[in-house]
Amino acid sequence: MTELQIGSLILVCTTLVLFSGVPIAFGLTVVSIAFLYVFDGPGSLSAVPRTFLDEISGFALLAVPMFVLLGSLIGSSRAGADIYEALHRWLARVPGGLVIANIGACGLFSALSGSSPATAAAIGKVGVPEMLKRGCPAGLATGAIAAGGTLGILIPPSVTMILYGVATETSIGRLFVAGVVPGVLLVAIFCAYAWAATAFAERNVTQPRDHYTLKEKIRASGTVMPLFAIIALIILALYGGYATPSEIAALAAMLAFLYVALVYRIVNRDNLWPIFGNAVRESCMILLIIAASGLFSYMMSLLYVTQTMADLLVGWNLNRWVMLLVVNVFLLVAGCFLPPVALILMTMPILQPVLEANDFDMIWFGVLMTINLEIGLITPPVGLNLYILRNVAPQVPLMTVLWGSVPFVLIMMGFMVLLCFFPGIALWLPNQMFGP
């Protein structure tokens, strides 16, 4: 069998197995082991347990369970309700105000964590139930957070961009700066969409919106103030050189615990168990999926499927822009199955020479590719952020989560086109800061 045929078979089998209702983590493991066994022989199975374990024994992934714990601390205590009550009172006049606040929070968290699943889990845990409680359409609520969460790998710092920088020998500093404007613009466009979608849904409503006096607004904000102190402390720790992005997660979780313990007096076992029980449950789900997709990536690389396809389209000798389109479609499809980092490591050695020969700027392409890979995080069958949302908001049906993310996927694709026509969106700021 040729690599292309194997690749198609993997595509079909993975989709079937994952849609059958097997837990994602176990389904990916089954597919990986089966293909390794059939196409590379039993010898390759000896690498399976280490590959699986290696994927989750890295320091960068420590941030995931810790941010999940943070979300659980805020979300399972009354803190979350209070925060959203305060936000609601301030934003009640704006259509979709709460969704906008959530997207903003995703942007802020992305800037701090560098991790997309961590962002989606922490904000989603608190945000989705509160948005639903206040009548926000379920699809919009989950879509906004799933998509907002993906910004974690675009807005600096970002481990994905560091690996892209190392893999392509482009300046990581420039890449980081190049991600800022597109990241902020995407946040703004997401917010605009949330506003428009809500305004459209409420177009026939004559009933007046809730109104709160300034006094009511301030009263609701009282208990939330310490939270802003926590955020300020975290920003100080990160940019003041006291802690790396992965360590920030632990500091944030610790501060949130102190906040919840002191302000809400959550110290006994009955109150702590739901918080910690949920945190380990959710991080287990996320980390096992990450471990399994590591195994899946190993299988794909060993069978040389991704590389052969990249090689193939590089060999077509297409016109510059057609080639860029084909490369992006390829990455989009591959991104449905493979995590961002694995895809960068597998394809960049092959794609980079051709992109450079066609005179594409590698910093610009890094931003374009990151947005492309973000889309993969919210598309099935392997869309990590979707499943995180599915888990933190079990009351929302999966189909609603899926459809809810479609508008955001379209926005990101549109933004990629925009980025092709106006490379300055990404390159202007780094050129200003470092010179061309």
């Binding site: 209702g21 409680k133 945190a279 380990v280 999926i289």
Partner: protein
């Protein structure tokens, strides 16, 4: 039968409690590291210790995650098959789950034995032995297989699945009176709980 299910459930919950303690300890250790580094001291064991703890917590929480339907899946096929078909598919899925968990546990167990025999250590200044990291995989996935068995029993005896402790999210959130979102139909507002 019921007693067996209860016993397995209790075992899984105990593991999740241990996992919680490990996760909390990892948070404390990383915070401690940041503090002592700021004070100018060296750090050499903290990162690895917290990684060991988080990996252990991940595997130990797996049976509990299964018990509370926390391992997410895309239920297209069961959804298309209707009620009776879905039940048959659930049984097949559980069987696949047991097989893959046991197989991975077996691989993990061999890895552990290998690491003990060769005294495999981490490459840091601290040089901790590796087997305590590896052994969590057979323990966690082995217990997950056991929990799958309990789930099969549970479904056979028509019991409701266990629920995660979700204090504020268990129920469909009721719109707060007076603050009802205008303009949406009753069905849209009331989300079916799975």
């Amino acid at each position: 039968m019921r007693a067996v299910i209860a016993l397995i459930d209790r075992l899984s919950i105990s593991c999740a409690v241990v996992a919680s303690v490990l996760l909390a300890s990892a948070v404390v250790i990383v915070c401690y590291m940041v503090v002592i580094r700021t004070l100018g001291y060296s750090s050499y064991w903290e990162i690895e210790a917290s990684i060991y703890m988080v990996v252990a917590a991940t595997f130990l929480a797996s049976p509990y995650t299964l018990m509370t339907r926390g391992h997410v899946s895309v239920d297209f096929l069961p959804w298309m098959m209707g009620r009776r078909g879905a039940r048959a598919i659930q049984a097949v899925i559980a069987a696949v789950g047991i097989v893959i968990c046991l197989y991975m546990a077996w691989l993990g167990w061999h890895l552990t034995l290998e690491a003990i025999a060769s005294d495999e250590r981490s490459t840091s200044m601290w040089r901790p032995v590796k087997w305590p990291l590896y052994v969590m995989m057979p323990i966690g996935l082995g217990l997950t297989a056991l929990q799958y068995l309990a789930e099969i029993f549970r479904s056979a005896s028509d019991e409701a699945p266990a629920k995660a402790p979700l204090p504020r999210m268990e129920a469909i959130p009721e719109p707060v009176p007076g603050r009802n979102p205008p303009g949406r139909s009753e069905t849209e507002r009331r989300m079916p709980a799975r």
